[in-house]
Structures are given as C-alpha cells and as structure tokens.
Amino acid sequence: DTAVSQTPKYLVTQMGNDKSIKCEQNLGHDTMYWYKQDSKKFLKIMFSYNNKELIINETVPNRFSPKSPDKAHLNLHINSLELGDSAVYFCASSLAYQAKNIQYFGAGTRLSVL
C-alpha cells in the first residue's frame, strides 16, 4: 500500500492552462504539505495544511491554490500556468504536535510547461 500517493506522476501542458495535482495519504496523519523542487534542486515548502486548515503559505503566487477536502487529501490547483512553474511537486504528510517532524513524501509530480 502506498502511504502518500500523488497523481499524475507526469504532467505536460501548455502555458496559460489550468491543471490540478492530487495527493492522498493513508497514514492517518493530520498535516499535509506541498513542496516544489525547482531546476536548482532545492526542495521548498509551498503550503501546509493541518486538519484542513491552512497553516503555512510561503509567498506562493495566487495562481496556486491548495484545497484540502479532508485530512487525508490535499490537492494543488494551478491557474494560468507559466514556464517557471515547471518543476517537480512533492506532497508530504506528518503528525502535528510531535518534536520529530518526520514527513513522508509522495513520489512527486513532474510538471512541464511548454
């Protein structure tokens, strides 16, 4: 059983399109995250949700809108895609209120904007 699963794994689209990436975790965690790994290989946090409530929003453009319908799901919708959005997007989950912030990651979604 995959603990954190993301779909799709690959996404190729044109500039200006709108796309969504879905994430689901079956670990019983209450906190979920979206990270972006850009061409320079840095993994940077974008958003964090705890019990469906937005906790962290790291100055991400408004074109990115996360949605958490329940604790086990965190989706990422991107409007008006730009070339610079090309990256690998990772979803992760963890249990809040623990000193060890061990986050479990999905396999990533490689987004290519043409």
């Binding site: 906190t31 840095f42 946090i45 990772f90 000193a99 912030n101 990651f105 396999a107």
Partner: protein, 116 residues
C-alpha cells in the same frame, strides 16, 4: 537565503568504506535535524534524525553527529554499500510555540555514489 547548506554536490566512495556527508545551518532556532535519502523518480525517504539536545544518534550503519556550536551536522554511513547510492538531503525544523506543526527547510542535497 540558504539556511541549510550542503556544500558538496557529490561524493564518490568505494564499497565498504565510510561515507561522510556534511551539512551546515545558519538558523539558531533549528532544533531538529533530519536526513532524507532520495532515489531518482521517487520521493525523499526519511533516514535518521537528531534533536538539538543530542550530539549523536546511531541507527545501524547510519550515524548522525551534531555540533551545535559550529552549526554543523554530518551523516556517516559505515560500511557503504552500492545500494546507498542516492541523493541525501539534510533538513531542519524549528518548533513553534504551542507545539504546532513544523516546516522543514532542506539543503540542496549531495549525490552519493558508492562504487562496487
């Protein structure tokens, strides 16, 4: 502003020898440090962690050392195996008041290659 730095993009070692991966940080508020391992086309996988109140944590072949005064940590892998070949990320977190969830700040990663 890189708060977590891994200055070696790559490291190559022989099978059976020790691999030492280094990480430096600048934020004094970091109180928990983690190492993740990442294979191509997969997500990062948690490997080992250490609290800022400790200076060493060991788990099998993996040991993490923390030098708070130098703001430096290292991951030792002994003995190294070809299956250890991957990108290793150092990450750090700073607890917030009230014990709410913490974000991880990652380094850029070091590609370890273990040659048979």
């Amino acid at each position: 502003d890189q708060q977590v730095k891994q200055n070696s993009p790559s490291l190559s070692v022989q099978e059976g020898r020790i691999s030492i991966l280094n990480c430096d940080y600048t934020n004094s508020m970091f109180d928990y440090f983690l190492w993740y391992k990442k294979y191509p086309a997969e997500g990062p996988t948690f490997l080992i962690s250490i609290s800022s109140i400790k200076d060493k944590n060991e788990d099998g072949r993996f040991t993490v050392f923390l030098n708070k005064s130098a703001k430096h940590l290292s991951l030792h892998i002994v003995p190294s195996q070809p299956g250890d070949s991957a990108v290793y990320f150092c990450a750090a977190s700073a607890s917030k008041s009230g014990g709410s969830n913490y974000k991880l700040t990652f380094g850029k990663g070091t590609l370890l290659t273990v040659n048979p």
